[in-house]
Symmetry: C2
Subunit: 257 residues, 2 copies
DNA sequence: TATTATTATGGTAGTTTTAACCAAAAGTCA
DNA sequence: TGACTTTTGGTTAAAACTACCATAATAATA
């Protein structure tokens, strides 16, 4: 049985490769998984959160891990990422993009168990969702929770590394792209926006007053005229992101630390 | 025979997945390839070049394509990228990093031929090598050539898209990271550096004089004291990149358009 | 109701950075 | 020698950034 499977890729290879000479070099047979690093920002408590699920099977039974799935027949990678996200949370607004592909040998303990050369490869995706409206879907079996980035538990596989990688991407995205507006409500105050930035980037990247004037000077935030009164203090103007006005600023930096 | 193979992933799945309910959804069986977008810069002729090889087999027999390979047993993804690069060119200095993973269904025509659900996934890598010292390795069978980015031929698979993606990455890398110094000689003139930037980014990103003073103010270029006289004109100072002095500038931008 | 606390807003002044030039220095080439 | 080329090191005006500050408009409170 191991022989049957391990000889199969060799025949394929003869048909498909050009620059190989040694028949004893076997091609790996892959299972491809998608793992999502799903971030959200709780601006009230000033916490950056990442979504974790508890594994219900070996390996790493009972440990927290990134929500993931193996890719199905005929399913695009991004479709698999969308599917696993939709299975775990209900959201209205989200941003999703590919992060990195982790595929070193022995990153999954199951590779050691099998005598033939099956490999597990993880294409990770990075997502940012609106926290206030995200509803976690508990399937009644496996645990699911938002964990603050500052208090991550021990994670299955190489998922800690994947999260660190995602955290870097999140910071860069926020600085260099209008990703914030994907997860803010249609109408938001400049203070909402500032809270989001400081929660992810830290307090030290800019003064609130300067943050305001820099963004307003760029002319892609439309004042809706409507005011929002939330507790004490002068009511704030509600703004709207104008994608058309932002267009010429594409691939320019927005904010710097 | 198709049945034997297509039923195999299903048994695996029952053992390995948690949140699936429908047995008719089959997991895909993957071949994982690595494709390299290898750039070099010919500063004399002011051309950005990408390395292409001619395919010697179906599909796309006789068409130009990115140099690639299928991943072997026990081989890390980056190791496969290194291997294919070393098979095609001899270089001393190079920069290599993962680019993107393309894995939509039907991106490879071979998927249609097989009645079982084999999928071809491409993990692409981005490389920048020093042009002047890069020696192409012709294996006597398949063609190999540097093509200017401005005159790319029709390419196999989705390789045109991969190259466009790589071109974006190259521009960003050059602006935001010291990748240029990986492919310049140890000693170089500021003019050499400027030629590299203008060839990739276009003439309009900065005046030579301003480019010089901005870089020198950052204090990570050491003047070696040695002068280089190349043809007419005042001899230029040869500089050296000081990685230690650059350290605090990591993840800050270097040059802006 | 008058006062205080809180948040939003709009500004100023000093410094730094950028952009667009310019002129001298130090070579080669004819 | 004189013309030409390339490097080098400026200058200057405009723009942007930083660290503040004053005021406006509301809620909470005495």
């Amino acid at each position: 049985m191991p022989n049957r499977l391990s000889s199969e890729p060799n025949r394929q290879r003869k048909m498909n490769r050009s620059d190989d000479c040694c028949d004893e070099l076997k091609l790996a047979d892959f299972r491809v998984g998608v793992d999502n690093v799903i971030f959200s920002v709780d601006t009230d408590l000033k916490r950056l959160l990442v979504l974790l699920v508890m594994r219900q099977e070996e390996p790493f039974l009972g440990q927290w891990s990134l929500p993931g799935t193996l890719v199905r027949n005929g399913e695009a990678l991004e479709a698999a990422a969308d599917r696993i996200l939709a299975e775990k949370i209900r959201v209205q607004n989200l941003y999703l993009e590919q992060l990195y592909t982790f595929g070193g040998p022995m990153r999954d303990p199951r590779e050691a168990e099998a005598s033939y050369g099956v490999r597990y490869l993880s294409v990770s995706y990075f997502a940012l969702v609106r926290y206030s409206e995200a509803e976690l879907i508990a399937d009644g079996v496996s645990g699911i929770a938002w964990y603050p980035m500052s208090q991550l538990p021990e994670l299955a596989f190489d998922h800690s590394k994947i999260i660190q990688y995602g955290h870097c991407r999140l910071r860069n995205k926020l600085e260099y792209s209008p990703v914030a507006f994907e997860v803010l409500p249609d109408l938001f105050t400049l203070s909402d926006l500032y809270q989001l930035y400081t929660t992810v980037l830290g307090e030290h990247f800019s003064d609130y007053s300067n943050f305001r004037s820099r963004l307003l000077k760029l002319k892609f935030l439309q004042d809706s005229g409507v005011k929002a009164s939330r507790g004490a203090g002068r009511p704030a103007s509600l703004y709207k992101f104008d994608a058309e006005a932002f267009e010429p600023l594409k691939d320019k930096a927005l904010v710097f630390i």
